[in-house]
Structures are given as C-alpha cells and as structure tokens.
Subunit: 230 residues, 2 copies
DNA sequence: TTCACTTATATTGTATACAATATTATGTAC
DNA sequence: GTACATAATATTGTATACAATATAAGTGAA
C-alpha cells in the first residue's frame, strides 16, 4: 500500500480548501462565502460546506451572521492588537517549552520549514511564504508539546495572516527568514532567555510592519477558485 | 417588550443544554453521546445536535471519533498538566490586564459572581459551585478585554472542570471563595504583582487538589437528563 | 463453551427537501 | 427622480431520507 496516498476525507477537504483559500490570500477579508457557490466549487453538499464554515468560525477565520451568511473575517485594528498581544503571551511560553523539549529531529523539521518559506520568498510568492511562516510558528508549538497552546495558536496565527493581508502592504516580513533562523538556533541551544527575546522582537516586527489606518480590498469568490473550474 | 425574555435559539439551546449537562457533572467524562437520544431529549433534529456536538468538540469538551460517535472528553493526566500550564500562562496575563482595565461596575459584577458561587457551596451544591467558579475566571478575562484570551479560556476552564470531576474527589476547592475574593481585591486595587501571585497560587491549588492516579466513573445519558422527561 | 464467521441491527455520515429569513426587483405615489 | 410599499428571488436554517460504517446478535464447527 502507498504511504503517500491519503484516504480522502470530504469534510476535511472542504475545510482545508477554504482554509487554504483564505490563508493564501485568494479570499480577501470580508468576502462573502456563498454556500451554493462553494458546493459547486468543491462538489460536496451544503451539509459539508456548512460544517467547514462552522469550524472556520470557531477558529475565528470566518464570521457567520445569523440568516446573513459567512464572511472571511476582517479583524479591526483593535482586535488585531488583542490578537498580537495574545500571541506574544502564548508564544513566549511556547518558545520556553520548545527550548526544553526540542529534539534533533524537531530542529531538522523546523529548519526544513524555514527553507520552504525562503524558497517561496525567492520565487516572489509572498502568499505562500506567509502561510509557511505561520506553519513554522505552529510547528514550534507542537514541538513544545502543549496541546492547548497548539489549539489556540492555530486560530491566532491564521488571524495574524488576515491582519497582515489587510494592513501590511509593504513587504515588511521579508526579514522573517533570519528571525526564524535565529529563533531556531536559540531553541536548538536551549537558550530560553535568548529565545524569548528573539520571539518578542519577531512578533513586535509583525506589528510594526502594519499600518492600521487603511482598509482592505475584497475579492470575489469565483475568481479565487478559478483554478478549480473543470 | 420584556428584557428578560430571550428569543429562543434552537442551536444555541441544544449546545447550552449539553454544555451545562457536562459542566454540571450530570454527564461524566467518557459518556457516549448518542445523537438520536439527544434528539428525543431536546426535541430538535439531528442536524442541530450534530452542530452542538461539533462546537463542543472544537471547545475540547467533547471528542468525536469518526463513525464511532461523540463522547464527553476525559483528559488524561498528561493532558491535564498541559491544560493547567496553559491556564497559568494565559490567566497571569489576564489578571495583569484586568488590573489595568477593571472598572467599578466590573468589580461589582465579579463580586456578585463570587457571592453566587459561595451560596452554591453553602447549599452543598458543589457541581454548581464549580461551574460558577469557572464563570468567575471567564468574566475576569472579559474584563481584561482580550477576545482571544476569552476564547481560549472558555475551553480551558471547561476542561478544568472535567479534570476536577475526574481527579479531585476531595473537596479541595472549598477554599476557592477566599482566593477569588483576595484576587478580586488585588484587581480592584490595580496591584498587578499581587494579582499575579494570587492567581498563580490559586491555579496551583487546583492542581494540588487532584489525584491523577485513579480513574473516573461514567454515567449514562438518560439519567443525566431525567429532569427533561415530559 | 468458545472461536470464527455471517447476518441483522443500530448509529453515524452525507445529500436533499422544505421552511424561514433576507435581499433584490418592481411598481406606484409624490 | 426619490421614497416607500409590495412582490419575486435568492440564501440561509432545519428536518428528513438515504448511504456507509460500526456494533450486536445469531449460527455453526471445533
């Protein structure tokens, strides 16, 4: 049997396609997510679409208004500040745990994720780079071995991507590679103080790169999934 | 129009009844949650039952195994430790924010919640006391004004209730009243250092009150909602 | 009895049908 | 043309029907 052949899981697939669409910036914050359109795009019934939307809502990536429908979340500047503060609090604890528990294999995997992120940057694909940057942070939480932190960060990192999409129009996170690399080096050495310092600066840079005075553009649904048209 | 007459919201009602059933210890950890039984108990279709179960799953209060069904979560000792550590990290930040932002009305509401918890203790209703204790902690996060913290703590506090149900058979949290009161006093005075110290001790006492060597009993579904039989 | 195997039942997974609500379009008065 | 009311449409909310899977019951052989 093939190890690479994942069994297809319709609910997860619908969820993941939507999630990727949002995180890859094909679906801009504020975009209306029409249920029947999504059924046509993904070839599943509204039941599974609604399941995926509810899950995304509980991850705070989608907002559902009763009888009005689902929309890609669009964090206000005030909420964005709360999100970045929450990340600061949790990720400082995460990096501390990661310093204590990180194994060689973990370091190698994290390094690989940094490389992937960098290759996306090299190709000018900033949307993919942003997504992989988030995956690096999440993997760090997994290495830290605290399930609630992983769970909370999954949502917070996704929301941060939305925030960057909305407010960071300059390419301010191009410096991320070095920051992730230095962070990983501190984790590898088990230097908790240095790791926390670097993480604090790193998250600070994300906030500094954002301009909370302008509002975002909203894309439409069919265009975002044009590659699925068969 | 009556202010106290909340418009009925079937999905929320089903969710809340299940949530209360679990948090009030009528549904013990590990209990199988049969969907058709729940439809009969709550008089809604499986659609809404499944919605409620999915939401509870994402709050980590219910586990859903594919094709096997939903069960009240039963955190292992290892996970319990992770949950309490996560609470420690987040609630120390929460109490710090609360010290900065707490208004007079907030103090009064928090005091009221302490009184409600105490009255439940006085009546020997420890299940209600436990639930109200959790509500106090959650309200503190609301006062702190950080939505991600509120969101994360909602699940963590519920999970802590499950942990106490499973592992804390002594009445170790009877001391909670004084601890909550002292905590509120520090918040009222805006004494961040004192607030964090008290919170750390409070959460430490929860962990100390638990014996992670014995396993819990599992109740059945009909008995837990016997009061609904019409 | 006990184990394996087959069949029947129960339970969950998904799609569809219908109901309720919101949105848009149309028409009419001013 | 604007504003308002009304009708037509579109969209979401909920219940039910059917399919897929798992669990339980039954049957026979060792």
């Amino acid at each position: 049997m093939s190890l690479s052949l994942a069994k297809q899981d319709a609910p997860m697939d619908a969820y993941r396609q939507l999630f990727d669409g949002i995180l890859s910036q094909r679906l801009a914050p504020g975009t209306k997510l029409n249920e029947v359109e999504l059924t046509l795009l993904f070839n599943v019934s509204r039941t599974l679409i609604r399941q995926a939307l509810q899950r995304l809502q509980l991850e705070q990536v989608v907002e559902i208004h009763k009888n009005r429908g689902a929309f890609v979340a669009a964090p206000t500047p005030d909420l964005a500040e709360q999100i970045l503060l929450a990340r600061h609090t949790i990720e400082l604890a995460v990096v501390r745990l990661a310093c204590q528990r990180c194994k060689l294999a973990d370091v190698q995997q994290l390094q690989h994720m940094i490389d992937l992120e960098q290759s996306a940057i090299d190709q000018g694909d900033m949307a993919t780079a942003l997504r992989r940057s988030g995956e690096f942070h999440l993997q760090l939480a997994i290495v830290a071995g605290n399930q609630p932190f992983v769970h909370a960060l999954r949502g917070l990192i996704s929301q941060t991507s939305l925030i960057i999409t909305m407010y960071n129009h300059g390419g301010g996170n191009a410096c991320a590679r070095d920051e992730h690399s230095h962070l990983l080096e501190a984790v590898r050495l088990g230097d908790e103080a240095q790791g926390q310092t670097l993480m604090a600066h790193h998250l600070g840079h994300i906030a500094e790169g954002c301009d909370f005075t302008q509002s975002p553009q909203v894309a439409n649904l069919k265009g975002a999934f044009a590659h699925l048209s068969s």
